[in-house]
């Protein structure tokens, strides 16, 4: 495999995918290792079971292996891979009855400490997130945790931009209900604007 001498991560990913399309398993190994941490961190926010995380990642890369030759650069490689992981995760979470393997409310016991503390806000946030429909939560995580743009999330989730905005809107509204300290008056909190 010959890669450009000065290659950005995007160029490197593209070159690796081309190589994978020709059956290069060394390239698959390299791509796998460069994405594993990012995907595992993302997925660990939805399930605490590593066997589920590994299954989703490995299923994702089986799809990458089988379809790399058909990749036509309609999107970035990272968007394509995360999109596959997104759909694989969605199927996996739906397959588990009532998200049995996903983080549940029991993971976040009721708190009685100072409600303005960061720890309390974080606990409420976890509880609120766990109550969101999976598509809304994934959208929120893709934007806030992974830092994806609106258009990238539309590509990853294979939805129109309007749908992404709507999911995010509903997620924000529901979180406000779970986060009374935030929705009750942002100005009272030590938030940083600007």
């Amino acid at each position: 495999m010959t890669l450009p001498a000065k290659n950005s991560p995007k160029e490197r990913d593209s070159a690796l995918l081309v190589a994978i399309g020709t059956g290069d398993r060394r390239a698959l190994e390299e791509l796998y290792l460069s994405y594993h941490r990012r995907l595992a961190r993302f997925l660990s926010r939805f399930t605490s079971r590593y066997e589920n995380i590994e299954e989703i990642i490995n299923d994702t890369f089986m799809v990458v292996w089988q379809n790399a030759k058909d990749f036509r650069n309609a999107s970035q490689v990272s968007t394509w891979i995360i999109g596959i992981a997104y759909r694989t995760a969605l199927k996996s979470f739906r397959r588990q009855k009532n998200h049995a393997g996903a983080r549940s409310l029991e993971d976040y016991p009721e708190q009685t400490v100072d409600p303005t503390s960061d720890a309390e806000v974080n606990d409420w946030l976890k509880r609120g997130m766990s109550q969101l429909p999976i598509e809304q939560r994934l959208t929120l995580e893709l934007a806030y945790h992974m830092g994806h743009s609106l258009e990238e999330i539309a590509a990853i989730t294979d939805c129109p931009v309007g749908t992404v905005k709507a999911r995010m809107f509903h997620a924000r509204e529901k979180l406000r209900q779970y986060l009374p300290t935030l929705s009750g008056g942002a100005s009272e909190l030590p938030v940083r604007i600007g």
Partner: protein, 226 residues
């Protein structure tokens, strides 16, 4: 008057929907300016911006779990080995390489050592050149004075790294220290397993505390270099 209110309401809803991406700084310049202008006049959106920023901060503050990818990769490799045929092996590849691809995973893993200089040339050329220019005249990551036995990688870690972190990174990449650190902070690392140097390098480079990591072996596949 009603028309202006309607316009304001439409603008408010459209801009409000963009706030998450204003926060994660992925909007284009034009959209960002649009949000800026609206925020200057809309207290509701300013409050929402503060709330959303707080939510994003809290999401980032939640601890993430890091997992070791090597065992998972091996299970993926086993799945691939169990497949009846590979999806698409290029007919333009040399016959020797094609037949090698058909061999079990371990066979090609052993062969990956042959591609090390490709990784060296591609991912480290700039670093090597810069280090050559910048480092003083004693043993560095790039000079070739008496390589310690078994050395396959030279690496530099952040000065703040703890021993526990260092050992954890080396365990993950299945490497061990055979020499170092030098005056320039260079460690010579040897492989602890059948994991390829390329794989170990990829694992090392995932860690922000690894400032530099390059293979030291010569390219056994002339013609592959860029």
């Amino acid at each position: 008057m009603t028309s202006r209110r309607t316009e304001h309401s439409a603008e408010h809803h459209e801009v409000s929907a963009l706030i998450p991406w204003y926060i994660n700084e992925t909007l284009g310049d034009r959209e960002s300016q649009r949000v800026d202008s609206h925020l200057a006049a809309c207290t509701v959106c300013r409050d929402d911006l503060a709330v959303q920023r707080r939510i994003r901060e809290a999401i980032h503050a939640q601890p993430s779990v890091d997992y070791m990818p090597v065992a998972s990769l091996k299970r993926l490799q086993a799945r691939l080995d169990a497949q009846p045929a590979e999806p698409s092996v290029s007919q333009t590849l040399p016959a020797g390489e094609r037949s090698f691809r058909a061999a079990p995973w371990r066979a090609w893993m052993a062969a990956t050592a042959a591609g090390i200089l490709v990784a060296v040339g591609l991912f480290g050329a700039d670093h090597w050149l810069q280090m050559e220019r910048q480092l003083p005249n004693y043993r560095t990551v790039t000079n070739s004075i008496a390589r310690p036995q078994g050395e396959v990688i030279r690496a530099v870690f952040a000065p703040t790294i703890t021993l526990v972190e260092l050992q954890s990174i080396l365990d993950e990449a299945q490497l061990r220290i055979v020499s170092g650190p030098t005056e320039a902070g260079v460690y010579s690392l040897a492989s602890n397993s059948t994991l390829t140097v390329r794989a170990s390098l990829a694992l090392l480079r995932q860690h922000p505390t690894v400032r530099f990591a390059e293979g030291t072996q010569a390219d056994p596949e002339p013609g592959n270099a860029p």
